[in-house]
């Protein structure tokens, strides 16, 4: 009996500290949902990895208290969300990170997300980028990469 439990435990992927385990999936940068920018222009506009981390922290802090969408995050692993969002943004902005999260479709499955939720998220992200001092045109270039993900996150 113990050996079965041990074998099962070994099959589960390593769970980063503070996070809850998730079902097994194949990790790949292709899961990030967008191709990264080339060059370091965008990374600089976002003030490097530190800037990205500050933006994601500010974004998540606001998402979980935004009355329009806070409910969506109640049952979510926010520690994991913070980590994977940082990886995803860093990967897309060509900051030299790998994305270890699930695909956009899998990560948003059964959350019942509506178009208006995506709008609220974008507004929070815009506010976080503005706070970090990311130039407006760079903000839009980044949003252009994220926008098509709406198709995989919104469920009818």
């Amino acid at each position: 009996m113990l050996s079965i439990i041990l074998a099962a435990a070994a099959a589960v992927q390593t769970v980063p500290p503070g996070e809850e385990p998730v079902e097994r999936y194949t990790q790949s940068n292709a899961n990030a949902g967008a191709k990264p920018f080339s060059g370091d222009e965008m990374l600089k506009a976002f003030h490097g990895r530190d800037g990205i981390n500050r933006i994601v922290d500010d974004l998540v802090d606001h998402l979980v208290v935004d009355k329009r969408i806070a409910d969506i995050f109640k049952a979510q692993d926010v520690v994991r969300l913070r980590r994977t969002l940082k990886e995803q943004f860093c990967f897309i902005l060509n900051g030299g990170c790998d994305y270890s999260g699930r695909t956009m479709k899998e990560a948003h499955k059964d959350l019942g997300i509506q178009s208006a939720d995506v709008g609220a998220l974008v507004e929070n992200l815009q506010a976080a980028m503005r706070k970090e001092g990311v130039p407006w045109f760079a903000q839009n270039r980044f949003l252009a990469k994220l926008a098509p993900m709406k198709r995989d996150t919104v469920e009818r």
Binding site: D117, G119, P148
Partner: protein, 293 residues
């Protein structure tokens, strides 16, 4: 004239009341990004100032009902055009609009033998349906947001319209609009093809002694999202030249739309509508205030 305006205001208020009370079970308001519902074009549909766009008015998404009301003033060299109206957007799919337009001839009215401050009025009832595409979110596709629409226009000065060679005092425009936000470049682009017989947007009737058939006309906008709340751009619109007594050319404008608050947008433009009723090169301002949700 006054009663028509009162009627327009009443309809506009009713539209807003209907929209604000329309909270059915799964319906929800808001969610559209600022300025992506467009402002109000001269005939009342969501768009730029001169061009009608494929966007649906209001702040609603596919789960809600939105609406907007506008008051527009276009003081030109010899004339004055004012408009007031409202529109409803349903699930970011269908838009229904009403616009009452008044064209005041001011001093030119006397010169035209109509009397000083003689006014032409027109009601425009419009419907627009988004067919395909999402102007904002489809950033990985070239496909723009495409909508088709109709505008039924009813002008009030039938006798004068016929006297100057106009054929009808009522007419219907049909259009196909394609709108795209190119986020990577912070641009908004629109191209619209309109089938129309309208003389001066319909204020001088439809069809004329020179030409009396539907011909395609182009209207387009190019704008830059300059800040989260400010869009500046230029528009061009061709118009038919149906009447023998006066030439009619295309119009253009240079505009700025400023979102004062989430729900209030002020549009200011420099506009040139070309010749109107033998009066040369009618230029002036275009000012429009829109409130929506």
């Amino acid at each position: 004239m006054r009663t028509v305006k009162t009627y327009a205001v009443t309809i506009a208020i009713a539209l807003l009341a209907a929209a604000s009370s329309a909270h059915a079970d799964e319906m929800r308001s808001g969610g559209k990004l600022v300025l992506t519902g467009g402002v109000t074009s001269v005939e009342g549909a969501a768009g730029g100032g001169l061009a009608t766009w494929a966007v649906i008015t209001g702040n609603e998404t596919d789960a809600g009902i939105g609406a907007s009301v506008n008051i527009t003033d276009v003081p030109l060299t010899d004339f004055n055009l004012t408009a007031i109206g409202g529109k409803i957007g349903w699930r970011d799919r269908v838009e229904v609009s009403f616009q009452h337009i008044t064209f005041d001839t001011r001093k030119a009215g006397a010169a035209l033998g109509l009397g000083r401050n003689f006014r032409f009025d027109q009601n425009v009832i419009g419907a627009k349906v988004r067919i395909i595409g999402d102007a904002v979110y489809d950033q990985d596709r070239i496909l723009p947001q495409i909508a088709i629409g109709v505008q039924y226009k009813l002008a009030n000065q039938g006798a004068i319209i016929r006297a100057v060679g106009g054929r009808q005092s009522r007419g219907t425009d049909f259009y196909v609009a394609a709108t795209k936000v190119v986020l990577s470049k912070s641009l908004v682009l629109d191209a619209t093809m309109r089938l129309t017989k309208a003389n001066q947007f319909g204020l001088l009737g439809f069809g004329g002694d020179k030409v009396d058939r539907y011909r395609p006309q182009f209207e387009g906008s190019a704008a830059v999202l300059l800040t989260p709340r400010l869009v500046i751009g230029a528009e061009y619109r061709s118009k038919p030249d149906n009447l023998g007594f006066a030439r009619e050319q295309g119009g253009y404008d240079l505009f700025a739309a400023w979102s004062l608050m989430r729900n209030i947008t002020l549009t200011a433009a420099y506009t040139d509508l070309g010749d109107i009723a033998t009066f040369r090169s009618q230029r002036g301002a275009f000012l429009s205030l829109q409130g929506g949700f």
